[in-house]
């Protein structure tokens, strides 16, 4: 069936480096995407979103890129900090899904000082 997946389950970076977390999706009807951050022992927290009519959106230190041709989504974190260490999930919402989100399995980002 349709699914949202991740290329890498773990990512380790040095403090100050840029991080890139990838996500692949297979549902051609997906029209809205969200990135969530989940710190240990906490619930997922909204980071940034993007609609399918866009290919890039920027927030504070984060950028989401969407390539609809290859059904690929990425989250870029600039100047990664220890506080960025968490699990990052992508989620997609498709037309007609009654506002349900389908989540990927997550990528664990570890920032080394």
């Amino acid at each position: 069936g349709e699914s949202v997946g991740l290329h890498l389950p773990t990512l380790s970076v040095q403090e100050g480096d840029n991080s890139i977390i990838n996500c692949a999706y297979s549902n051609s009807a997906s029209d809205y995407f969200i990135w969530y951050k989940q710190e240990s022992g906490k619930g997922p927290q909204f980071i940034i979103d993007i609609r399918s009519n866009m290919d890039k959106r920027q927030g504070q230190r984060v950028t989401v890129l969407l390539n609809k041709t290859v059904k690929h989504l990425s989250l870029q974190i600039a100047a990664t900090q220890p506080g960025d260490s968490a699990v990052y999930f992508c989620a997609e919402n498709s037309r007609g899904s009654n506002y349900k989100l389908t989540f990927g399995k997550g990528t664990l980002l570890t920032v080394n000082p």
């Binding site: 809205y32 619930g43 909204f46 979103d49 999930f89 506002y99 349900k100």
Partner: protein, 116 residues
């Protein structure tokens, strides 16, 4: 500004026992959701509600029941707990979405349930 509040935070049950997890949101959101999170499985939707008095099945509804008697509350019940229901449970809510609006779901802190 509480957002989404889940109670209890932790619970240990014996097989066959029942319990209810409570979710409360103070954002006047129409939509509410219950997920379970297991290692390597991501978030899986158990049940959801699109408004007061309505509920619907998600991806993994078996063994669970829900009720949405009040707009701000969404209850998740386990009638006869099984070890396979050991998990972390998350509640989320999202606002009514008009055409073209966004479905950002806001999550609670979770309930960690162990069934022995």
């Amino acid at each position: 500004n509480a957002g989404v509040t889940q109670t209890p935070k932790f619970r240990v049950l014996k097989t066959g026992q029942s319990m209810t997890l409570l979710c409360a949101q103070d954002m006047n959101h129409e939509y509410m959701y219950w997920y379970r999170q297991d290692p390597g499985m991501g978030l899986r939707l158990i049940h959801y509600s699109v408004g007061e008095g309505t509920t619907a099945k998600g991806e993994v509804p078996d063994g669970y029941n829900v009720s949405r008697l009040k707009k701000q509350n969404f209850l998740l019940g386990l009638e006869s707990a099984a070890p396979s229901q050991t998990s972390v449970y998350f509640c989320a809510s999202s606002p009514t979405t008009l055409m073209g609006a966004k479905n950002i779901q806001y999550f609670g802190a979770g309930t960690r349930l162990s069934v022995l």
